[in-house]
Symmetry: C2
Subunit: 258 residues, 2 copies
């Protein structure tokens, strides 16, 4: 058998790791992942061969995973969050597509049985920690313009504003990118109030989790790093305070019926 599991391990808290993801890792002999993810997983990963490639080596990691599986080793390619959302799964299929189109020379990849295991994504972890920010129509936009032209990203932010979607920004900043988030904020401010609630969620569900609820006009890239999710409410999202607890939710419109 030649098997590749493509596994999302959720936001960090092992209590949010699906049993199916844990099983996939358990039956694999070889794990391909950024080292930090494996550290978070702890003992599930013990006794297996780890193939750690640095961040930025995404293509290399997908190739390696296909090569290992094709060589007969049951392999798990691992990302945190949902591996299908801004993560490694799409690269595996992009490589298969290249092979099917004759642009790669790895016919052995086509014999690998692939199973994708989804996971809970950062936007869901964030929304749950503050209430129900994703309670109505929402979108996700990656602010990384390494692979997507900025014009495309900007058009999507405009569309998200026009459509009044709750917006979760993935890859909001990086060491080399810091202006995109503030530009995104300014675009959304054309469409929704300055008081729109915004979730800043850093290291969500992990030991050093930090959650802040601010308003859209307060959003600033200097308060955000690459371990942070930024979710912006729509024009109807509400920030409510009950004593020492605060919540953000996006209504579906039931209040007209309450």
């Amino acid at each position: 058998m030649s098997k590749l599991f493509v596994v999302g391990t959720g936001p960090g808290d092992l209590q949010l790791l699906a049993p199916k993801a844990a099983s996939a890792i358990q039956v694999s002999s070889d794990l391909v992942a950024y080292g930090l993810y494996l550290d978070l997983l702890g003992q599930i990963c013990e006794g297996k061969t780890h193939h750690d490639l640095p961040l930025g080596e995404e293509i290399g990691r997908a190739r390696l995973a296909l090569d290992l599986a094709a060589s007969g080793k049951t392999t798990a390619l691992i990302s945190s969050g949902d591996i299908g959302i801004y993560a490694m799964a799409t690269l595996v299929f992009e490589l298969l597509d290249q092979q099917l189109s004759g642009k790669e020379q790895h016919p052995e990849w086509l014999d690998v049985e692939i199973e994708v295991v989804p996971g809970i994504s950062a936007m869901q972890a964030g929304a749950s920690r503050v209430g129900a920010l994703l309670g109505h129509d929402f979108c996700t936009i990656s602010l990384s313009n390494l692979l997507t032209p900025w014009e495309t990203i900007e058009k999507r932010i405009q569309s998200a504003g026009q459509g009044d979607f709750v917006v979760s920004f993935y890859n909001p900043v990086s060491r080399k990118r810091d202006w995109q988030l503030n530009t995104a904020r300014d675009i959304l401010l054309e469409y929704r109030p300055t008081s729109t609630p915004v979730l800043i969620g850093r290291q969500l569900t992990r030991e050093d989790e930090e959650i802040t609820i601010i308003t859209l006009d307060q959003l600033d890239a200097k308060d955000v790093d690459m371990f942070t999710l930024v979710s912006v409410g729509n024009s109807e999202s509400r920030h409510i305070v009950n004593g020492s607890k605060e919540w953000v939710y996006t209504p579906r419109g039931y209040s007209k019926k309450l």
Copy 2:
């Protein structure tokens, strides 16, 4: 203690139920949910008091859950999928908001400790079963115009088209609503090719799962029911066939670097 867990149980397969969700149910004495969801969960729910209200009784279910928890019973309010996405979580906070605004007469609700546990949503289950359909920017739109005016929904579909988002339609049809999905298809066809791949996922990850990949021009409400998720690729999504297997993925743009 007065505790309410607001729990998403994932798409159906118990292997995708997070341990945190299972624990929340285990420590609860009272479960509030649509009966079908509890049937799917099986023995985890045994020995607990079930409060089953019919579909459509969403407000009643949220009120009941708050009342039970306020009365001192550790309670779990349960939806399949992610309870924060088009589900019950937002209603709980909407009710709390009403109480804080003086429009409800239930001050005891404000003493309830609330914990939201996210789950894997249908769009993620669907994307994983066919590859990586959510590999780049995406949005979700509910086609139910019971609570949201159709003009708002139509504007969002237009925006999704303009922004070239992958679009997942929740509540695509119901017994009384059948025209919205075909209208949505026609709007998206203004922006993306007739050949755009579409996933029709019925009873995802459950015993009677049915998955079909079609093209956007083939999408028809008559082939869809209320247990179905419809996800439409963006203009770059690819449907590839490898022998007896077929996959759909949305590239992030790595191929320029391959």
